[in-house]
Symmetry: C2
Subunit: 182 residues, 2 copies
Amino acid sequence: MAGESRTRMIEGASRLLATKGLQETSFSEVLKLTGAPRGSIYHHFPEGKEQLVAAAVDHAGRIATELIELSAGEPAVVVASRFLEAWRQVLVRSNFHAGCSVLAVTVATESPELLDHAAAVFRNWRRRLGELLEQGGMPADDAQSFAALLVAGAEGAVVLSRAEQSIEPFELVSGRLLDLAG
Amino acid sequence: MAGESRTRMIEGASRLLATKGLQETSFSEVLKLTGAPRGSIYHHFPEGKEQLVAAAVDHAGRIATELIELSAGEPAVVVASRFLEAWRQVLVRSNFHAGCSVLAVTVATESPELLDHAAAVFRNWRRRLGELLEQGGMPADDAQSFAALLVAGAEGAVVLSRAEQSIEPFELVSGRLLDLAG
DNA sequence: GTCTATACGAAGATAGAC
DNA sequence: GTCTATCTTCGTATAGAC
């Protein structure tokens, strides 16, 4: 298949973004991690690094969106709980070295194109979570703002736990959010 | 005074971290922004960039801590409101180009030393906010976890608003947090 | 689709004069 | 305390062969 190493590079870039940040996600690092051939970088991404990073952001967004979709039809508290649990896994499995690649790009770029990709991802998460929360029994007026709080709180808590190298802040935040959802 | 250009470099680095991220905060950028003399970099920071960044993180932490302290003795909802308002100002005044320098460092470094500085800042904010919230009437059991939610929610909301170049997500999050504090 | 070779700039860091 | 000059490494990107 044509998109073989292309896909690997996107996934690898997304992992690197989540752990090392935007600038440390260099082509050399991506190639080292994925084993993809050096010669194919500009074949697959003629516009260079921005194009690769944009694809990685989109990819990370899609993965999380699919995960959110899994809780369709569940009560609101389950929707929130599954979303938070996914982030908890990112922290624990990486021993607090990994976070969110979309956030990493947002705070390290001034490129309007990359910000647009990140914005689309965040908006999509908020929108879909809001819909599922409402379907799960949350009043319509609350669902949208709680979805924003859920995304912001989870993202912020992941950062706190990475800095402190401890699950404690994440658990505190997570507990309060679940109280609100229940 | 000996610490003249040293102080300017630290403040400049903190501003650059908040807008451009860790790797874009280069010595050249700091010098351009502050007008500090190139020759004095390694005089003031013999351990190089890590030392400058660590000082910038500490500085940003101290500024916010002083701001938190200003709401000592106020009701819990005022403590929360002032903290959120400060972050709103960062967003609006920078036209959504600036965020939190401590967060920017956290997600772009793997240096244990820098993570320690960031962790100390976040812990300090949580601790002091928790104390003031409790003194402001919040039940002791709630104050600590709400402080964590406040810091995480604010940090996350700043990122969402930067990505979307709009105050909307921040306002949604801020509104919910203030409901909880009141 | 993949390869090597290379151009070009910028980064952090060091040495030694003033 | 500050200067210039320089070293080394690494980043993105391009050219042209296979």
